[in-house]
């Protein structure tokens, strides 16, 4: 009985697999981010860091960062740097230009180090305010523990992976089938040995397929169902050919519309400026990115953590990619002139024979970008929201009213049309917006 011996062996494998998976799940569950909050004595004893944070963000953050260089130097450690000479620091913050003029050596040294870019004067700050700010910047840098210690983009696994479950399930089913087959075979053999006759001689049962073929009604129903099904799925299949709704390619630089348009509420047309005047909405040139990213070389720690946790993306790395492409040297805060144009993957592709003009829809029709592009402000990865089929275009043209108000172009035509048809509103289709030649030439 060769096959019977096999059985305990297989069982053992199954058991082994189950235990491994279970223990793996336990390990992942145990991995908890460790909260570390080492408290160090502040070099600014009488400063209120909370108030300092507010002041810093409103006055200083345009040029300074606490822990890294921006336009001005990193401020963390500034008290130590100047040996706790608060009077000097007050003088510098209140009016650095005066201090430089007075010939102060330290002031001139720092002025020259930073390419002689003068710092704004802040005469409105009291000494207490400045203490508060210093207290804030002297707080130790918060340590954000990355979930993946080595920082590589390894996908974060929470719980048992789906693939594994499916694999095990199919394995178990297979096993069951084999067992059933073996049982059946064994029983047959028993019957044979015991001389039990399973079928009457000569009176064989009619095979199922024969009975089925002879039942004409059933056959007809099946054929009809089959044809209808084929037509349904065939049509559905053909209709989705070249319709790339939901197309969500990976871009060379990860750009989060969620953060820019959603969290930061940057107006779409700030970056896609040509949508107002051109047929193209335009992929923003990199100098537009640098309008903000000259200052923002790192994202907020919470955002960074969120990106790593939820999307396994290191946003700071993406900003680095931008700097590399545009040729920006963070240390000297200048363009190196060596740039590598980014090859973005185009998401919305209209065929060449269809003419579409953004400015017609955005500027004249006053249609929100989201009407076609979907909830962009929620998209971490940009995807194609609309099917971009001709039927979809036409439908909208049939349903959307023309924005005739306050547009002198329409004054005459609106007057004539409303007189003729006694209507106040008319759709794009009424204006000839579904004529072939309007989009195909």
């Amino acid at each position: 009985m060769r096959k019977v011996i096999l059985r305990p062996y297989l069982l053992a494998i199954t058991l082994f697999l189950f235990t491994t998976v279970y223990s793996y799940a336990q390990e992942t569950a145990e991995a908890q981010p460790a909260e570390s909050a080492a408290v160090v004595d502040s070099p600014v004893p009488n400063g209120n860091a909370e108030n300092g944070e507010k002041l810093f963000k409103s006055l200083c953050a345009a040029c300074h960062k606490p822990y890294s260089r921006a336009v001005g130097p990193a401020l963390h450690g500034v008290v130590d740097k100047y040996d706790g000479d608060f009077e000097w620091l007050y003088a510098w913050i209140k009016n650095s230009a005066e201090l430089i003029k007075s010939g102060d050596a330290r002031a001139n040294a720092i002025y020259n180090e930073y390419n002689q870019v003068a710092m704004n004067a802040f005469p409105q700050l009291s000494n207490q305010d400045m203490d508060d700010i210093l207290a804030y910047v002297e707080l130790p840098a918060p340590v954000i523990e990355a979930p993946v210690p080595d920082g590589k983009d390894v996908p974060v696994q929470t719980g048992i992976p789906t693939d594994l479950i499916l694999g095990i399930l199919s394995f178990v089913l297979l096993l069951l089938a084999v067992i059933l087959y073996l049982v059946n075979k064994t029983l047959n053999r028993f019957a044979e040995v015991n001389g039990v006759k399973l079928y009457e001689d000569g009176a064989e049962r009619k095979p199922l397929w024969k009975a089925y073929v002879e039942n004409q009604f059933l056959l007809l129903v099946t054929v009809v169902v089959f044809l209808l099904g084929t037509a349904w799925f065939g049509y559905g299949y053909l209709m989705q050919v070249a319709v790339d709704q939901g197309y969500e390619p990976i871009q060379p630089i990860h750009y989060s519309h969620r953060i820019h348009a959603g969290d930061n509420k940057i107006e779409c047309k700030y970056c896609h400026a040509s949508a107002r005047v051109s047929k193209h909405s335009g992929i923003p040139s990199l100098n537009v990115c640098m309008n903000c990213h000259k200052q923002i070389s790192e994202v907020a720690p919470e955002t960074l953590a969120e990106g790593k946790e939820e999307y396994s993306i290191d946003y700071n790395k993406e900003i680095e990619k931008l700097y590399e492409a545009v040729g920006w040297d963070k240390n000297t805060q200048s363009f190196t002139g060596e740039n590598k144009p980014v090859k973005w993957v185009r998401i919305h592709n209209l065929p060449d024979h269809a003419y579409f003009n953004h400015s017609q829809h955005v500027s004249v029709g006053k249609i929100e970008c989201q009407t076609c592009h979907g909830p962009v402000e929620e998209m971490e990865y940009m995807y194609q929201n609309a099917p971009l089929t001709m039927g979809w275009c036409i439908n909208c043209h049939r349903e959307t009213n023309v924005q005739v108000k306050d547009n002198e172009y329409y004054t005459k035509i609106h007057e004539e049309l409303s007189k003729k048809y006694n209507i106040e509103e008319f759709t794009a289709a009424d204006m000839g917006g579904i004529e072939c030649g309007k989009c195909h030439y």
Partner: protein, 1017 residues
């Protein structure tokens, strides 16, 4: 009743028994599938091992493969700017004003650029000066993207850097010693370049500047110098003219720089019952002759007598003119009109003879003509034949140490090219600056790669007071440098030509700011005092007798001319220009010897028409002294003066051209002593030449109402219904006009709301120049199909300019004569008169955008729709290529894509390479194989105008609505606009009595209408 005139397009149509013609008319709509001969031989089915079964297998497999492949869309990459230039918005066109100046064509232009690449040339409305052929100017943008352009400077045929190039040339120049350095250049007409050349002469005192024009105006320049003391060309304003007498001057062609057509059209269109009267005495039938009111056949020698006779009668000078008696009446008529028009009269001549030009100036002075302008003279031709000849002599004598050429190709264009080539071998340092490796450049040691004018800086002085600036509109495509930059380097000046130009600008700008001038492209300066009184007092009478002395020796008088398409041959590698049909012969891709029917019969020469309507011709050799130009095809040309021949210059180039463009014969060897009229012998040789002509294609099959023509007298005095009757239809024995609702089968739509576009075409103003054809190509990505396909009736022109011949007599006279003459005599008479000197009418025809379009109803897939703005809309992606529409179109304006004309090695023109494709208009679809296409009324342009207005929240201005053709037409023949705007110009045209519809009686209600042609005869 001019309507009953008999119009014909081809001599064959006059032959009533022509079986060929009958066959063509019967087979009008039959176009066979591409036959074996058109498919490459190895693919032909006879000797193929592929069986039908295999074929089906392949089809099945490839269909399945294609279906599967089509399911997955390709990944499209988009690369935006890293730093976007402030003014460039992707998708929005930029316009720059600049100036074209290639030594032959000088014109202010507007360049339309998309994303930093020029895609179209338009006229600059601010410009007053133009000296160029409209078709060539519009086509010049394609020459920028020519794959045959030089991409690097060469030394001894190898690519080098500019540094090495300049250093080597400079070394050579330094060692030239006391030998001459010759700068042999095109006409620059550039004040800064002139100054630069003077600077160069300071460094190299033996240097000498010689200007060489391939097609010379030396005679006129000398005559003008003799009379007014300055080497320049007189300027003309034909808009003021009441009487124009032209003796062999192709004033609508390239005569004295050309560019007179727009002004000519203004005075030659009836306004307030008046129009100019134009007499043309010529040998070749030119488009000028075609537009003339009275055209008299005159050989070049007869033209001389006519000129002297006119001179005699106007000035009263007593010289003998030896005028043949047959011209006496016509000359007397012309003189009468000249005297009547007096100061609004002008006499011009195209005879390349100092004496002739001097007499013309003398006559105009006597007439006190205001049409000619001798104060604000033209400076766009400065070539001196004598100087060029002496350079050739000096080179052969070994006196020249270095020759530096720019923009010239003497090895191809000089009549005595052999002598030049012999001389060139004796010159140590040979430098040639050229766009392409032409014949001269190929023989030079140093070859400088020139940038195209759209990549260059420059200043141009058109006339004494009119200037233009040239600015780059694109980054240099190749490693090229301007000639002027090199001159600066060689002179030891390390400023760039741009700085030099800018510094020099203030010396002549008369206070105009650089930025304003650059923005406008043109500016006017006051006329500085140059020129002195003529040194010698030239006697006109002496000149007259001298003119008549030069007599002909050969049996034929040949007149060399330049074609509207090719000019002097600079555009030979431009497929748009090669496929541009000549306005008169309607031939493409060729030059040929035009000959009169009488002479052709005598020499047993003929043109044959093949069964598919293509034309073949016999071949002759032309002999001038010891020069023989062999294998010239002949074209029997109605209206060619007997005993004369015509041949176009600018063809037959070989070097620096793509294989497909090496067409025609080189006529420059016949341009002996730079004189366009020569006495030659011709002899028939064996062989047959295949023409690619649009002449007999798509016959109108005897349909009436194609052209409506009347005389000025009838137009002024008679009722409109007499000279432009409305077609009438009878219903229930009541006559209704053709556009009445009563006789209409169709339901009418109300088009009174919104825009309704119409195009008016004035047959009087249209000179047949063809700028519209090229503008249409450029705007609408019309493919080039090549010579063989044109011959197969498969040209893709969306807009064609039909040319009709007609006998001078009216139908009424014909009837009368029919009764007196015998039937046979009569037929012969009509034929002879038509052939001898036919009247010519030009008619631009594009899609007529019928409101009741016959093409729309027959489309089985609904690919043609009608817009409420009047356009007949062709939807390419819906078209399945049944060609029903083309067959049902009464105007034959639909063109079928028999092949894929882009990215196809069989059609190796601009659409087959990355460089050439840069000229394509991104707003217009590039059509694929198997679809019908046609004029769209430039939908993309009207849509843009409407959108601009909507965005600004204002009504559209009338002048904003344009099509490519109406925009390119500066003679005012094409007027496009919205007829629902009652203040628009096209609405006024619609109300004009001269209005008629092409085949209006069909009741298809076209949105294109024509204005009756009025002749002042």
């Amino acid at each position: 009743m001019s309507l009953d005139k008999k119009y014909w397009r081809n001599p064959e149509e006059l032959n009533a028994d022509s079986s060929v013609l009958e066959a063509i008319q019967k087979n009008e709509f039959v176009e066979d599938l591409p036959s074996k001969s058109q498919i490459r031989e190895e693919e032909s089915s006879d000797d193929s091992s592929t069986s039908r079964r295999d074929f089906l297998k392949y089809v099945g497999f490839s269909t399945a493969a294609a279906t599967i492949a089509a399911c997955e869309g390709p990944v499209v990459k988009s690369i935006p700017y890293v730093f976007q230039p402030e003014r460039i918005v992707p998708g929005v066109a930029e316009y720059y004003a600049t100036t074209m100046a290639d030594g032959f064509d000088f014109s202010s232009v507007l360049v339309k650029a998309r994303e930093g690449r020029p895609i179209k040339i338009e006229w600059n409305d601010k410009a007053t000066a133009k000296a160029a052929g409209g078709a060539r100017v519009h086509a010049s943008v394609l020459s920028l993207y020519d794959t045959k352009r030089l991409q690097n400077p060469l030394v001894d045929g190898a690519d080098v850097t500019w540094k090495t190039f300049n250093k080597s040339v400079q070394n050579d120049l330094d060692t030239v010693g006391d030998k001459q350095i010759v700068l042999l250049t095109q006409t620059f007409a550039s004040p800064s370049t002139s100054k630069l050349v003077e600077d160069f002469k300071v460094k190299y005192p033996t240097a000498k500047h010689v200007v060489y024009d391939a097609i010379s105006e030396h005679a006129t320049l000398e005559a003008f110098n003799a009379k007014y003391g300055v080497r320049a060309l007189p300027n003309y304003n034909f808009a003021k003219a009441k009487t124009i007498v032209s003796i062999g001057a192709d004033i609508l062609g390239d005569w004295q720089g050309g560019g007179f057509d727009a002004d000519y059209a203004k005075s030659h269109t009836p306004t307030n019952g008046e129009m100019s009267k134009h007499y043309q005495f010529e040998a070749n039938l030119t488009s000028t002759g075609g537009n003339a009111d009275v055209r008299v056949l005159a050989s070049p020698s007869a033209q001389k007598s006519i000129l002297v006779e006119i001179y005699k009668q106007i000035t009263g000078d007593s010289v003998s003119s030896k005028l043949p008696s047959e011209y006496q009446k016509k000359v007397a008529d012309a003189v009468n009109h000249l005297k009547k028009g007096r100061s609004n009269s002008v006499v011009v001549t195209g005879l390349q003879d100092k004496a002739a030009q001097f007499l013309a100036l003398q006559i105009n002075e006597a007439l006190n003509s205001s049409v000619i302008d001798v104060v604000n003279y033209r400076l766009i031709r400065q070539g001196s034949d004598a100087d060029v000849m002496s350079v050739v002599k000096d080179m052969n004598a070994g006196k020249v140490g270095a020759v530096i050429m720019c923009g010239v190709d003497p090895a191809y264009t000089l009549p005595n090219a052999e002598s030049f080539l012999a001389g060139l071998k004796k010159v140590k340092t040979t430098v040639s600056f050229a766009l392409k490796k032409n014949k001269t450049a190929a023989l030079c040691k140093y070859v400088g790669a020139l940038p195209h004018y759209l990549e260059s800086w420059g200043d141009i002085q058109f006339t004494r007071s009119e200037f233009g600036l040239m600015q780059p509109t694109i980054q240099k495509l190749f490693n090229t440098k301007q000639f002027q930059d090199c001159l600066l380097t060689w002179s030891g000046n390390d400023t760039s030509y741009y700085d030099y130009l800018k510094n020099n600008f203030s010396s002549y700008s008369n206070g105009v700011s650089w930025n304003t001038a650059l923005h406008d492209g043109v500016f006017t300066s006051s006329m500085e005092e140059v020129g002195s009184e003529p040194s010698t007092n030239t006697s006109a009478s002496q000149m007259a007798s001298q003119l008549l002395k030069s007599s002909s020796k050969g049996s034929f008088e040949l007149t060399l001319y330049s074609k509207i398409a090719m000019g002097d041959g600079k555009g030979a590698n431009n497929p748009w220009l090669q496929e541009f049909p000549d306005p008169i012969t309607r031939n493409t891709w060729d030059n040929y010897l035009t000959i009169s029917k009488k002479d052709a019969d005598e020499l047993d020469l003929e043109n044959r028409i093949t069964s598919n309507g293509a034309i073949d011709g016999d071949i002759v050799d032309i002999k001038l002294g010891n020069t023989i130009v062999s294998n010239v095809p002949i074209m029997v040309q109605p209206g060619q003066a007997p005993g004369t021949l015509g041949l176009a210059l600018g063809y037959g180039q070989v070097e620096g051209l793509q294989e497909e463009m090496k067409v025609g014969v080189n006529a420059y060897p016949l341009y002996n002593n730079f004189i366009t009229t020569q006495s030659v012998e011709i002899s028939k040789v064996d062989g047959n030449h295949e023409f690619a002509s649009l002449q007999l294609q798509n016959t109108m099959a005897g349909r009436k109402d194609i052209i409506v023509e009347t005389t000025l007298a009838d137009f002024v005095n008679k009722d409109k219904e007499e000279w432009n009757p409305t077609p009438m239809f009878s219903k229930d024995h009541i006559e209704y006009p053709f556009d009445s609702k009563e006789v209409n089968l169709w339901q009418q739509f109300d088009r009174s709301i919104g825009h309704h576009f119409n195009l008016s075409i004035d047959l009087n103003s249209c000179t047949g120049c063809g700028a519209c054809i090229i503008a249409c190509h450029s705007e609408n990505n019309v493919p080039v199909v090549g010579k063989a396909e044109v011959r197969n009736n498969r040209n893709m022109h969306w807009l064609r300019i039909d040319r009709y011949y007609s006998a001078g007599d009216t139908f009424k006279e014909e009837q009368e004569r029919y009764e007196t003459d015998g039937a046979l005599d009569h037929h012969r008479n009509v034929e002879v008169e038509s052939f001898d000197n036919p009247q010519v009418a030009f008619q631009p025809v594009m899609c007529q955008h019928c409101n009741h379009a016959p093409c729309e109803t027959v489309c089985p897939v609904g690919a043609i729709g009608h817009g409420r703005q009047g356009q007949n809309q062709m939807t390419y992606n819906r078209c399945i290529g049944t060609r029903y529409c083309g067959n049902n179109c009464p105007y034959k304006v639909r063109r079928f894509n028999w092949f894929k004309y882009n990215r196809n090695d069989e059609f190796d023109y601009h659409m087959n390479n990355d460089l050439g494709r840069m000229v394509l208009n991104p707003d217009v679809t590039v059509r694929s194989r198997g679809v019908m296409e046609k004029c769209s009324f430039c939908m993309q342009m009207t849509q843009k105008s409407i959108l601009d207005a909507k965005r600004d929240g204002r009504p559209v201005k009338d002048s904003e609505f344009q099509t490519a053709c109406s925009n390119a037409c500066d003679s005012g023949a094409l007027v496009f606009g919205d007829v629902n705007d009652k203040s628009s110009e096209v609405y006024k045209k619609l109300q004009d009595d001269r209005k008629f519809y092409l085949l209006g009686y069909l009741g298809v209600k076209p949105n294109v209408f024509y204005q009756t042609k009025v002749t002042n005869s």
